[in-house]
Amino acid sequence: MGSLVIENVKKAFGPVEVLKGINLEVTDGEFVVFVGPSGCGKSTLLRVIAGLEDSTSGRVVIDGADVSATPPAKRGIAMVFQTYALYPHLTVKNNMGLGLKQAGTPAAEIDRRIGIASSMLSLEPYLERRPAELSGGQRQRVAIGRAVVREPKLFLFDEPLSNLDAALRVNTRLEIAQLHRRLKATMIYVTHDQVEAMTLADKIVVLNAGRIEQIGGPMELYNSPANEFVAGFIGSPKMNFIDGARLGETAKTIGVRPEHLTVDAKSGAWKGTVVHAEHLGADTNLYLDCEKAGLITVRIFGVYDAEPGATLYATPEPGKTYRFGADGKTIK
């Protein structure tokens, strides 16, 4: 219960092809995160899975059954919409409870589940409000709560935490992880947040322009990206790409993550000038303009004082550079 197979799914809106042949297998109970640039088709794919959108071709199989003709209600899913899509006329409580009531769940059970969900999402004070009287983050939490109370076999989350503050986001993320463990439900989760993707996922699917670029575990993607796109997309600040020719390498492009560069005032591989320094508290991002490597980003743990204009030497950690061919593929 909860397995999902997507076979060669394509979707076009008129002439615009948005999904260009997606193949994916999700086993029961897996936590799959979709990441990809804005507009790459993540929401569309979720909507196809949910049955809200017909795919132009291809099949979606849930629990071994082709669901093309199964209405969303019968697919045993719950979805958190990117646009929330709350029922404007119902209170928070009823927004969450409506689906259960429809399914004939006893009132006591409904109350219990709403209680759990609303405490998990810190929504208790707002149970009697209507969506129009909530803040953006509160609405988003109601949308999550509405999906969570239904305890389906398959969850579809479309950027569910984007409007929450850091603390709440961490909490909610942990709650979702716990929910996943408790219900053993399959979860498909779209996010733009690297931390969420890395911490929650059993498997990350990197989408780009309607195609899957790579599927793999979080650290797998981080450590062995299949191509330049994935390498650049996973990790923030993004990987530095340096023209191989400039470094005298055979590969078309050489990649080094900002966190795999060390700086030294006196000596190092690449000499550069500090262009800008971003102080994030826990770390510092330095933007260096290097003679050899061009503009690169260096991420340093902790506070690091560097005045723009200062000269610094950056050195890649040995064994932590990536090599990409002319086709963008990683050269092993």
């Binding site: 209600a73 429809q102 239904r150």
Partner: protein, 307 residues
């Protein structure tokens, strides 16, 4: 705390209101007010003489007037009840069906169902008289086809049926109006909300009751009050189908026809604008009462949702 600066005068409100208010006041309100005030006068020897509420006393005190008035009012209430119970639910049902996504031939259905509404009363009256006429046999013939011929009676000519039959004809004619309004309202519900409901397992009828209906409630309020106003002002259908005397035996007389006879006269009866205006004032007050109940009690309580 310093006093807040005063908000500048919002001229645009005036600009938005002015054209409507001017045209409407000059061509509708002033003439009608002029007419209604006739109810306080009486024509004595070709002179309009002020008599206060005397006309109303006549209207309610003189059985020659009051019997007709109460009869018309009673009939009108029945006329209204039928519309509320038949026209509006069917209109909502049709709109709900029409608005289902990707329904084939929706445009055809919509147009077809609306066709009666665009017909003139002359055609409606003629067509239904023809159909219901026992002589030419359309209705008896059709009923024969389904084996119900024995149930046929000349409905329009029988006191006990005529009003109901006419109400139903009127329903037939005007069903397009609630349908269109509700349809427009249903279309404005955001698709995502419906999609969320689909995912939540709220489909079909319960989706309608639990999601769509509450969201279109203001429109239902509007059609109810429009039906009320329209029915208590109705005139033409009865007039073309049953004549100004609203036969048989005044059984289809409603306020509109009653008012028409009094105001403009009929056949040998000479129009009496003063009594007519008194009746019109009463009608006006009845409708105004209804509209006020709606505006101040219902409308303010209806929740509206912005999409």
């Amino acid at each position: 705390m310093a006093a807040r600066p005063k908000r500048p005068f919002r001229w645009h409100i005036g600009v938005f209101l002015a054209p409507a208010v001017l045209v409407y006041t000059a061509i509708m309100i002033l003439p009608l007010a002029g007419t209604l005030q006739l109810s306080l006068f009486r024509n004595i020897d070709q002179q309009q003489v002020f008599i206060g509420l005397e006309n109303f006393r006549t209207l309610f005190g003189d059985p020659n007037w009051s019997v007709g008035f109460w009869n018309a009012l009673r009939n009108n209430v029945w006329f209204f009840i039928i519309h509320m119970l038949v026209q509006n639910p069917i209109g909502v049902l049709l709109a709900a069906l029409l608005s289902s996504p990707r329904l084939r031939f929706a445009a055809f259905y919509r147009t077809a169902i609306f066709v009666p509404t665009i017909l003139s009363f002359v055609i409606v009256g003629f067509a239904w008289k023809l159909i219901l006429s026992p002589l030419w046999g359309v209705a008896p013939h059709l009923m024969d086809l389904v084996g119900l011929k024995s149930l046929f009676t000349p409905w329009l000519g029988k006191e006990q049926y005529a009003l109901t039959a006419l109400s139903l004809i009127s329903v037939w004619q005007f069903i397009g109006i609630p349908m269109m309004l509700i349809y427009a309202a249903l279309l404005s519900i955001p698709e995502e909300v419906i999609e969320a409901a689909e995912c939540d397992g709220i489909t079909g009828m319960s989706q309608f009751w639990k999601i769509k209906l509450p969201l279109i409630l203001p429109s239902i309020g509007i059609i109810s009050i429009l039906t009320f106003v329209g029915n208590f002002n109705a005139f033409d259908l009865i007039y073309t189908a049953q004549g100004a005397l609203a036969g048989p035996n005044y059984s289809t007389d409603i306020l509109g026809t009653y008012l028409y006879r009094a105001f403009f006269g009929f056949q040998l009866q000479i129009g009496d604008p003063n009594m007519g205006a008194a009746i019109a004032t009463m009608m006006f007050l009845i409708i105004l009462g209804g509209v006020c109940v709606y505006l101040f009690l219902v409308q303010t309580r209806l929740r509206r949702y912005q999409f």
